[in-house]
């Protein structure tokens, strides 16, 4: 599945997508290692640099401490070897199991959740588009019945992508939309049912309960459903993303993350503490504004792109 999707993705790769965002990030990190002697101040500077990538103070300190120890223990001397050691540590931190999208359930039900404005609807459009390119059919459910214009937004995407959208009136019960969409998806025999939900802050109890209800409805219809719960994170988000991943995870069991808007100057470093703490895999990366700009996440590629030096 992963490879099949990957081959079909013709969008910008993570590398290209993060190219703009690096803006010297990798170069500045590499520059620290090239100094003739690396002292406390240099290690601290490295920590600060990592922090500018939104990895958070705790993770930055942890990684630098481990790297320092390793450099000492193994007698690592060359700048390239140090950079490589750091790269390995970072890649390891992102190891959170399979990044493959679930499939093969008829239909595979994908619930897409996240805070307001993180990029859910656009990510869904991109996902449906890439599935279509991989020869897979989808049905979209407009379960964001709250935000003005949200249903229209998904319908417009549905038209553009030639994918059916199941929608109710604004203000309708999202669980009812999902119930209908499930029936329609099963009847139509599509491969995927992708559910768009209203943006909600993870601290809003009532709205989180509403989401739990959607999951219960799906669960009653199919004990394994939803097969995927994808949390969409805005790549510019700082440390609050941890709270998002924690609380959405507690409420509806997040199975993967879509890191959206990585095309801006964001570095998306908060995924490091998230995967370390919660072991939730990052599955996709939104790398641009075009419908093609969704890439399958690959930890090595992501870290290499992050640390690549400017030419």
């Amino acid at each position: 599945m992963l490879n099949r999707l990957k081959n079909r993705f013709r969008g910008k790769s993570v590398e290209e997508g993060t190219e703009k965002s690096r803006r010297g990030f990798g170069s500045r990190i590499a520059a620290v290692f090239t100094r003739s002697s690396i002292g406390d101040d240099d290690w601290e500077e490295l920590e600060d640099l990592l922090i500018t990538g939104d990895v958070g103070p705790e993770f930055a300190l942890d990684i630098v401490t481990r790297l320092r120890q390793q450099v000492k223990d193994e007698g690592i001397k060359t700048p390239d070897a140090m950079l490589a050691a750091m790269q390995t540590l970072l890649i390891e931190a992102l190891d959170a199991g399979s990044g493959e999208l679930a499939g093969g359930h008829g239909p595979t039900i994908v619930l897409v959740v996240g805070v307001n404005g993180s990029g859910k609807t656009t990510s869904i459009a991109k996902l449906a588009h890439s599935l279509k390119r991989a020869g897979l059919t989808s049905l979209l459910a407009a379960a964001d019945t709250f935000r003005a214009g949200a249903i229209d937004q998904l319908k417009i995407w549905g038209d553009r992508l030639d994918q059916r959208v199941v929608a109710h009136q604004p203000g309708a019960d999202p669980a009812a939309v999902v119930f209908d969409a499930l029936g329609a998806a099963t009847a139509a025999g599509v491969d995927y049912l992708i559910i768009d939900t209203a943006g909600r802050l993870q601290t809003n109890r009532n709205l989180m309960a509403e989401l739990e209800k959607v999951v219960r409805v799906l669960n009653r219809a199919d004990a394994g459903a939803p097969h995927e719960v994808l949390l969409v994170l805005d790549g510019l988000t700082g440390q609050n993303a941890l709270s998002q991943a924690r609380l959405f995870g507690e409420a509806v069991g997040v199975t993967g993350i879509i890191l959206a808007k990585l095309d801006s100057s964001s570095k998306g470093g908060v995924v490091f503490p998230i995967t370390e703490e919660l072991a939730v895999p990052i599955k996709f990366v939104g790398t641009g504004e075009s419908i093609d700009d969704l890439a399958v996440f690959d930890p090595t590629e992501f870290v290499e792109a992050l640390l690549r030096r400017d030419e």
């Binding site: 703009k20 600060d48 922090i51 500018t52 990538g53 939104d54 958070g56 103070p57 705790e58 805070v115 307001n116 404005g117 993180s118 990029g119 709250f146 935000r147 003005a148 214009g149 949200a150 229209d152 937004q153 417009i156 995407w157 604004p170 943006g199 802050l201 993870q202 601290t203 809003n204 805005d234 510019l236 988000t237 700082g238 440390q239 609050n240 993303a241 709270s243 808007k261 095309d263 801006s264 100057s265 964001s266 570095k267 470093g269 908060v270």
Partner: protein, 446 residues
């Protein structure tokens, strides 16, 4: 995550004795914790660095007030400095000297521009204005519909054109219409854009040139990370920003981005937006955001209130009693009265570090209602002074008398006595170690 700063500072400053001056070595340790708090709140690391340098200077050599711990004192200094940096006073909106005030709302995708534009319109309307909304976001599918729906909800007209119109023309036409129809203001909602998108940044610059806005409000997501500074700075370069709207403040985001933006661009935060329902934008309070960025309960207010209300002498006498473990129900009653002067107990608990969460617990809330507090007071008042000094005197018949006198059940009296016994135990423990931070607080909730 909340309330941790004061706890950590407490730990960092443990070595300090309860009284005296704040020394440089103490401050070093404390500033490391402040730095971490700021970084966890997404304050840009450079902003955090220069901020800490400034605070250090102010903190070293400061007298520690007798009624607070050194940690609380340091927090107060940090907090004051932060509030200062965020802008001490709330700044209002500029007004056009002639004709409609032009307000442009700009920002990144998903920051909350459209909702904020509607909220701002409602705010102006409630203040007696007659705003016009302009739907100049023709890029995001259904953005125009969204603004029109919101406009309907708050009964504010929306100027819109076809998706083929150029945003700058929509803005200009809206302005013409506003002039003609004598609207007090026109609020232009624009498409979300990345600061790196040359074409769109050029467009926003053209829009600015064409409409000459009185206010250019940058909508910033409270959850934004370290990059907030660069984003805002680039926008500021194209179209000079006049204010910030900080959105999504109803969640648990600490909002450090606002501090970074303010520190780097000098652009003041003007409004806060909470929730997706169209309610008026809220005025920004620098001190509250400062507390939030620091991740603490509003201990500052508590310290100030404690300073104002609890007179030193009484506090010291109570402390002495606790130290000697001779604290009785007479003292309890006295404390009750002191604390009552400071406001409602549940609101106070929200201000105490570590208590914020507890204050939200429904059982605790119930226990702290005025009714229950009043009952406790009534029970104690129904005791004789001798009973208050020596609760062990209270036997079955005295208990019935006290219950009858206070309009409660003997079991209520029992409960109170048991709680008090527990409290005395805690106080004995405290008297062998550190004193509670604010006289009485430890006891109240022990």
């Amino acid at each position: 995550m909340f309330d941790r700063l004061t706890e950590r500072l407490d730990a960092a400053l443990k070595k300090m004795t309860g009284r005296g001056k704040i020394r440089e070595a103490d401050v070093d340790e404390a500033m490391r914790e402040v730095r971490r708090a700021l970084l966890e709140a997404d304050v840009h690391f450079k902003v955090a660095r220069s901020f800490i340098a400034a605070v250090r200077e102010r903190a070293v050599g400061k007298e520690v007030l007798s009624s607070v711990t050194p940690a609380q004192q340091v927090v107060k200094i940090v907090h004051d400095e932060l509030t200062e940096l965020l802008g001490r006073e709330t700044e209002g909106l500029a007004k056009a000297s002639d004709g409609p005030t032009v307000i442009m709302v700009i920002g990144l995708q998903g920051s909350g521009k459209t909702t904020s534009a509607a909220k701002l319109a409602l705010r102006l309307k409630k203040a007696g204005g007659t705003p016009l909304l302009a739907a100049a976001d023709v890029k995001r599918p259904a953005a125009v519909e969204q603004l029109r729906t919101l406009g309907e909800q708050i009964d504010v007209p929306v100027h819109f054109e076809s998706a083929k119109s150029k945003p700058e023309h929509i803005a200009r036409n809206a302005l013409d219409k506003a002039r003609k129809d004598k609207h007090s203001a026109v609020i232009v909602d624009t498409a979300g854009r990345i600061q790196l998108d040359e074409e769109l940044m050029e467009e926003v610059r053209r829009m600015g040139k064409l409409t000459k806005p009185d206010e250019v409000l940058f909508v910033a997501d409270a959850m934004t990370g370290q990059e907030a500074v660069n984003v805002a700075a680039e926008f500021h370069e194209r179209v000079p920003l006049t204010g910030l709207i900080l959105t999504k403040m109803d969640g648990d985001a600490r909002g450090g981005a606002a501090l970074s933006i303010r520190a780097v661009t000098g652009v003041p935060v003007k409004f806060l937006a909470q929730g997706e329902k169209v309610e008026p934008l809220e005025v920004f309070h620098p001190d509250r955001l400062a507390s939030r960025i620091l991740g603490m309960g509003d201990v500052v207010t508590l310290v100030e209130q404690a300073q104002e209300v609890i007179d030193e002498e009484t506090a010291q006498r109570l402390e002495e009693k606790i130290r000697q473990a001779s604290f009785d129900l007479n003292d309890f009653l006295e404390q009750f009265n002191q604390i009552k002067k400071m406001g409602s107990l549940s609101s106070m608990m929200g201000m105490v570090p570590g208590m914020g969460k507890l204050a939200k617990n429904p059982e605790v809330r119930e226990a702290l209602t005025d009714k229950n507090i009043g009952r406790t007071e009534a029970i104690i008042l129904s005791m004789t002074p001798a009973e208050r000094a020596r609760p062990e005197l209270i036997d079955g018949s005295r208990r019935r008398r006290i219950a009858a006198g206070s309009g409660t059940e003997p079991s209520d009296v029992n409960q109170l006595l048991n709680q008090f016994k527990q409290m005395q135990k805690v106080m004995k423990m405290l008297s062998s170690g550190r004193m509670p931070n604010v006289p009485g607080m430890g006891g109240m909730f022990g």
